[in-house]
Amino acid sequence: MKQKTLAFYIWLITITIGISTYLFFPEEVNVDFLKGLSEVHYITALVIYLLILSTRGLTMIPSTPLLFAGILIFDPVVLFITNMMGILISSTLVYYFSRYLGLDTYFENKYRAHIQKIKTKMDDKELLVIIGWSFFPLVPTDLIVYVGSTLRINVFKCLVGVFVGESVLNTFYIVSATLLLRP
């Protein structure tokens, strides 16, 4: 129990640092250092990029700034595949981390009536809500995964929803930015 409490506080601090950095120092959220590395060790740069993307969800920093930076470094098709892999790994981590912290049990016990109400209202629409949320660029996708995990929505359903919403949006970003900015 103590271990979980400690993990919960560390997670809160990480999220606070992550969101504050993103809001107040957006220029620091970039992968500029990978530009030089990718010229010599393309695969290594790609693996580091994937690792950053995969763990990013725990900090709630959106993946979009990383994607924009990646467009200038990596091949568009490789970038799309890596980015989607990173997003799915990140979502899986977020989903199970939320379970590990016991957020589902906590909310279920504390707000049983509300949770039941939301569950009933979302019945059969969970997938559509996750897809729509993941597609909308102004809200962090990880948040819906935390909510999904708390509401005990099936992990597969969460990941499919995130994949559908994010893949369409990322394709748009990658294709348009490649057309406009890539040499």
């Binding site: 970039n30 992968v31 530009k35 700034p65 924009f68 930076a69 359903k157 559908v164 394709t171 040499p183």
Partner: protein
């Protein structure tokens, strides 16, 4: 179980179609008006961590571009692409489905390049000046040692 999977698949396909439709509308909006295109590019530049000072993205109508950079007025019979290529050449030309792209080195400053993108279907031309030098110059590829270039791009 089979019925549930059918519903999921139906939801996924319909959602994909709706999202693709939204993207097509967004795409059309962005690529058909200079204001939206400049705003979107600005977002990409800032979001990508590029220094906005090193990128200068501008959108022109073909007529405006001819008057400002090609020193000629574009008549109804004139072919803009021919006029453009006669003036700038065809350095690094790439022809895509929607756009013809050129990447032309600045004759006065080798570290500067200018992208030109001519939209085949609308009246727009995009010009993007940029500094190509990277602050880190790789001086030893084998051991990956880099040198921070502070003042010069050469």
């Amino acid at each position: 179980m089979g019925f549930e999977i059918k519903i999921y698949l139906k939801n996924i396909v319909y959602s994909m179609l709706v999202l693709i439709f939204v993207i097509i509308i967004l795409w059309t909006l962005i690529f058909s008006h200079p204001f939206f295109l400049n705003a979107y590019t600005d977002l990409l530049v800032r979001g990508g961590g590029m220094d906005p000072e090193t990128v200068d993205f501008q959108t022109y109508s073909k007529e405006e571009f001819s008057a400002e950079f090609l020193n000629s007025s574009l008549g109804p019979e004139d072919d803009f692409i021919t006029l453009f290529e006669n003036h700038y050449g065809t350095e690094n030309k790439r022809e895509g489905i929607m756009i013809i792209a050129y990447d032309i080195k600045n004759p006065n400053d080798p570290s500067k390049y200018t992208f030109y993108r001519i939209n085949k279907y609308t009246d727009l031309v995009y010009k993007n000046d940029r500094q190509t030098c990277h602050p880190y110059k790789i001086i030893d590829k084998k051991h990956y040692r880099s040198k921070l270039m502070t003042n010069s791009c050469s």
